[in-house]
Symmetry: C2
Subunit: 199 residues, 2 copies
Amino acid sequence: MTTTLRERRKQQTSREIRLAAIELCFEEGFENVTTEAISARSGVSQRTFFNYFPNKEAAIIARPPPFPDDVVADFVNGSGTFLEDLEALVIAHLGQLEEDREIIRTLRNLIEMHPVLRAAHDASMRLLLAELSGFFARRSPDTDPVVMEMLASAVVMAIGGIIRSIDQDETPFAARVDEVFVRLRTMVDVVSQPPVAMG
Amino acid sequence: MTTTLRERRKQQTSREIRLAAIELCFEEGFENVTTEAISARSGVSQRTFFNYFPNKEAAIIARPPPFPDDVVADFVNGSGTFLEDLEALVIAHLGQLEEDREIIRTLRNLIEMHPVLRAAHDASMRLLLAELSGFFARRSPDTDPVVMEMLASAVVMAIGGIIRSIDQDETPFAARVDEVFVRLRTMVDVVSQPPVAMG
DNA sequence: TGTCATGTTTGCACCGTAGGCAAGTTCTGC
DNA sequence: GCAGAACTTGCCTACGGTGCAAACATGACA
């Protein structure tokens, strides 16, 4: 039994701290929120706050959950084309984001406005990028790893494009995978543009 | 006359602070360097340090100089293919990095090791990315801007690939532009992989 | 149920980062 | 040389973040 009372409590406390942090940011603006205030609202001591999170940002920007192992395995050992197999991977990721849809909506502006949050968010995007390009490299170990990073960063950007349009499009994220692939193909077209101008 | 004594002094002070910061990091490790020590070594008060830089990281990670206007104009109004015109832009950028070659070598490890520096560096990369994708969008205003971000991020990654191999390859950066384009084409190949497996 | 080991929270003390303010110093234009 | 702008500095305050040891809660087991 791994889900002991202790662990559940910890989960709970962690969630309470995060919630308090986000609410306070929303009410007072990120700059004006202190770790002391967050601790107070979530009913723990400031010292405990720092047992859970290394800093204020970390309480607000959660790192995205890792990709499920089976989905990764399917991609890495996939027998279709790169894009075909990539689709399931991206859908899995978008699906997980769906749960956080409301939080994403709330945090988007906060992130836009505060360099510190932006940095924390960047760091979490960088992890995603590394994870993805790792999968790519495992799938085709002979391809230049830098190329895999390039491709992964393009995919991450494409996903970002979908997320950023959350306010203009209510469609569930996963139903919008196509946009990623349309964009990848458009990108290819730009790069492969024939030597003679097309008017 | 814009290059007044005052401005030169400011430049000078700024450079002295940066130098002191980098030297100290090299001698004592980033974590063990305080803004107080940096200020002391560069002969200013701690208060003045904060007049110049918002924080320790900013003194260490300089943002790359902007692209020269004429190079940008040539790219934006260029009449060749996308890749052909892109070349001059990338060469200009690599050329500017050449001047910092030694600093880059010194700072690389520091950045790898310290999340705070990494974050500062990411932020400066993000500016580069935004600048580049802005140029791309101005050149072809009808193309989906998200695609331009994807492409720009791939190019930035490719440039990063060159910089990261600074220790394995002494060739001047600008002489290695080709690697960027080879990699862009490889990336296109991966994405455009024909539907039937190629063994 | 009692008790012991382990894990978690807390208070406290301490250092470093960062900014506001006002007084002092240096530079610029006239 | 002088008035005013720009810059530097010291002082004061607040927040961020960590180490430590005491207090407390929990799980295991008799």
